[in-house]
C-alpha cells in the first residue's frame, strides 16, 4: 500500500537508507509505495504526523517522548541509529576543557524546534542554568549554519559528527583549533532518528503489514548504503531538489552515519530506550518529561520484519 515518510531534515546522507531503498526498488519488492517528504528547519515532523500529512516520521526520541506527554500518541516502531551523533564543538581558544567547570558564563549555540531537549537534559545534569548570567550558560538559538562559531558569536555550537562539524573543518579551521564534546562521551546520549507512527496506525492490520515491509526494506537500504557510501551519496544527490549539496560532503557524511548505524539491526534495544528516558527524566526542576512513558515503543513491527 501507500506510505508517506516525513524526514526530520533536508535531503542528505543522514537519510540515505531510505533513498537507497527507494532507488533500488526495495520498497517496491515489499509492495510498499513510499513517498518521502524532506523536512526543513521549521518543519516539526510530529506536527505533520498529527495533522495526517505523513504515516511515519523520522524523529529524535526526546522530541517524540515530549510530544507523547503532550498527548500525541507517538510510538517508536524501529530504531536504525544506535548511537548519537550530537556534540558541542567549541573553539579551543576559549579555553574550555571540561564541561562541568568551564561552560558557566559562556554562550552556547543550540538548535530549537524540538531539537533542544538533549541539550537541556545535559545542562540539567550539569546543574547549569540556561538563563544566562555568571553561573549559567547563555543560549543562542542557532540558525541554520556554523557561522556563530566562525564569527565567534558563541563559544560552542551544536554540531553533528556527520555534518556541521565537517562544515567547520571545511571553513578552514583545523581539528587543533577545536575541542568537541560528544553527548555519547558525556553520558547524555539520547536516541536519534527513530521511526515513529501514531498508535492508531498500529490498529490497522493492513498498515501494519505495510510498515513491516517498509522497515525491512529500509534496513536493507541502510545496509546497502553503509557498504556503498559513494553510491549512496550519489543517490542522495539525485534526490536533492535544491542542488546545493556536494558529493564530497555527502560521501563523508555517509561514512560518518555508518558509524552511528553500527550495532543496530533496526530493533530498538530496551536498555538504550531506558537510558534515554532516564536522562530526560533527570535534571531537577525542569525535566524534559515528567513521568516515564508507557507503551512508547513496540517491537512487533521489527519482530515481524526480521523474523
Amino acid at each position: 500500500g501507500d506510505l508517506t515518510l516525513q524526514l526530520k531534515w533536508v535531503t542528505q546522507a543522514q537519510f540515505a537508507g531510505y533513498y537507497v531503498a527507494l532507488e533500488q526498488g526495495f520498497y517496491e519488492e515489499e509492495g510498499v509505495n513510499l513517498t518521502i517528504l524532506p523536512g526543513g528547519p521549521d518543519i516539526a515532523p510530529t506536527q505533520v504526523l498529527a495533522g495526517g500529512g505523513a504515516d511515519v516520521i523520522v524523529e529524535w526520541m526526546p522530541a517524540a517522548l515530549a510530544a507523547r506527554e503532550k498527548g500525541l500518541p507517538l510510538v517508536n516502531i524501529a530504531q536504525p541509529f544506535k548511537a548519537s551523533g550530537m556534540m558541542l564543538t567549541c573553539l579551543a581558544e576559549t579555553g574550555i576543557t571540561d564541561p562541568a567547570s568551564d561552560f558557566a558564563g559562556k554562550t552556547l549555540g543550540v538548535w530549537f524546534a524540538g531539537n533542544e531537549y538533549p541539550f537541556l537534559s545535559w545542562m540539567n545534569t550539569l546543574g547549569l542554568s540556561t538563563e544566562g548570567g555568571e553561573e549559567g550558560v547563555t543560549v543562542l538559538k542557532q540558525g541554520f549554519n556554523v557561522d556563530p562559531l566562525l564569527q565567534k558569536q558563541a563559544a560552542c555550537i551544536s554540531t553533528m559528527t556527520y555534518n556541521e562539524y565537517w562544515q567547520v573543518i571545511d571553513a578552514g579551521l583545523t581539528e587543533d583549533d577545536l575541542i568537541t564534546f560528544k553527548y555519547e562521551d558525556q553520558g547524555v546520549a539520547t536516541l536519534e532518528d527513530g521511526l515513529y507512527v501514531l498508535e492508531g496506525t498500529l490498529e490497522d492490520p493492513e498498515k501494519v503489514t505495510d510498515l513491516v515491509g517498509f522497515v525491512r526494506a529500509s534496513m536493507r537500504g541502510w545496509q546497502y548504503a553503509a557498504e556503498n557510501p559513494e553510491e549512496a551519496a550519489e543517490i542522495v544527490m539525485e534526490n536533492d531538489e535544491t542542488g546545493a549539496q556536494t558529493i564530497e560532503h555527502q560521501t563523508r557524511m555517509m561514512t560518518e552515519i555508518a558509524k552511528l548505524l553500527e550495532g543496530s539491526d533496526g530493533t530498538l534495544i530496551e536498555a538504550d530506550y531506558q537510558r534515554t528516558v532516564d536522562i530526560l527524566l533527570a535534571g531537577g526542576s525542569d525535566p524534559v518529561i515528567e513521568a516515564a512513558p508507557e507503551g512508547a515503543w513496540v517491537s512487533t513491527i521489527t519482530d515481524r520484519a526480521f523474523d
Partner: protein
C-alpha cells in the same frame, strides 16, 4: 527609464559596487588575519586584498564572485538541472504567479463588494488591515504543515501565503480606484438611469485601472516575498527560497547572494512586465501619462 537617466544611474551603481568591494575587503579581512594568527604568520595588505576577494566562504562575497555564481547558475547548467538558477526561479515564479492571481482576484472581488455594500465596507476593511499584521511569514511553516494535513501540497500552500500578502495592496488600491469617479460622473450615469452593473462596468472599472496597475506592481513584489519565505522552512524542496536557505545552511554565501540577485532580477522583470502591460492598456485607453 529615460536615456538621460542612464548616466546618473550608472554612476550610483558604480559607487555601490566600489563601496561593496571595500566592504568585502574589510569584512573578510578578519578571517584572513585570524587564519594567519592561527598559523603564526603575518599578512600584509597587498597579500590580504586578493585573499579577501577570493574566499570560498566570504562573510561578504565580492561582486565578481556573485556575478560568477549567478552566471554559472544561469548559463552554466542545463535549465532542467537542480543546480540551475533558472529552474529554481521557475519554481518560485509559478507559485508567485498562482498566488498573485488568487490575491488579485480576491482583492478585486472584495473591493467591488466593499464599494457596493456599506456593511461590507465597515466590517471587512478594519480586519483586512489587521490581517496584514498577522506575521504570516512567521507562521508560514505551520500553514504549510496544516495545508499538507488537509491534503494540499506542492505549489498551492506557497501560493496561498503569496496571495495573503498580495491581496491587501490590490484591495486598498481598488477600493480607492473604484471610488475615483467623481460626483459629476456618477450623476451623469444617474441622469441616464444606468443600473449598478452598468456603472461598475462602464465607469468604475475603467477609472480604477490606473490604481489597479499601481497596486499590482506592489502586489507582485509582495507575492514574490511570500513565496520565497514559504519556501524557506522546507529546506529541501526547490525554489529560490530553498536555495537561499540551503546556501545559508552550508555557509555558501556566494550561493545566498546569487539566489538573492536572481530573486531581485525576477522581481525587477515582473514589475517591469506589469509596467509594460500597464502602458499598453492605458495607451489603448488613451490614459497614457
Amino acid at each position: 527609464m529615460r536615456r538621460a537617466d542612464l548616466v546618473p544611474i550608472l554612476t550610483v551603481l558604480l559607487v555601490i559596487v566600489a563601496v561593496w568591494y571595500l566592504g568585502a575587503i574589510r569584512m573578510n579581512a578578519t578571517w584572513e588575519r585570524d587564519q594567519a594568527a592561527r598559523a603564526g604568520t603575518e599578512v600584509t595588505w597587498s597579500q590580504l586584498i586578493p585573499l579577501t576577494l577570493t574566499q570560498d566562504r566570504p562573510v561578504l562575497p565580492a561582486p565578481h564572485q556573485v556575478a560568477v555564481g549567478l552566471w554559472e547558475g544561469v548559463a552554466g547548467q542545463a535549465i532542467t538541472s537542480r543546480r540551475s538558477l533558472v529552474w529554481h526561479a521557475w519554481v518560485t515564479l509559478s507559485a508567485t504567479l498562482a498566488g498573485f492571481a488568487i490575491g488579485t482576484a480576491a482583492g478585486i472581488l472584495l473591493a467591488v463588494g466593499i464599494v457596493h455594500s456599506r456593511s461590507m465596507d465597515q466590517s471587512v476593511m478594519p480586519w483586512a488591515v489587521a490581517s496584514q499584521t498577522v506575521p504570516i511569514l512567521a507562521i508560514a511553516p505551520m500553514v504549510i504543515v496544516v495545508m499538507a494535513s488537509a491534503g494540499v501540497t506542492g505549489l498551492l500552500p506557497k501560493a496561498i501565503i503569496a496571495a495573503w500578502l498580495s491581496f491587501f495592496p490590490v484591495l486598498v488600491g481598488m477600493v480607492k480606484g473604484l471610488r475615483t469617479p467623481d460626483a459629476m460622473q456618477m450623476d451623469l450615469m444617474r441622469s441616464w438611469s444606468a443600473g449598478r452593473p452598468q456603472v461598475l462596468a462602464r465607469l468604475r472599472l475603467p477609472s480604477s485601472l490606473p490604481y489597479l496597475f499601481a497596486s499590482l506592481k506592489v502586489a507582485i513584489a509582495a507575492a514574490l516575498v511570500g513565496t520565497i519565505v514559504a519556501e524557506l522552512p522546507s529546506g529541501a524542496t526547490a525554489g529560490l527560497g530553498a536555495r537561499l536557505l540551503s546556501g545559508s545552511y552550508y555557509g555558501q554565501t556566494v550561493q545566498i547572494w546569487s539566489a538573492l540577485f536572481m530573486a531581485a532580477i525576477l522581481a525587477g522583470l515582473l514589475v517591469a512586465l506589469i509596467g509594460l502591460i500597464e502602458r499598453r492598456v492605458l495607451a489603448r485607453m488613451g490614459l497614457a501619462a
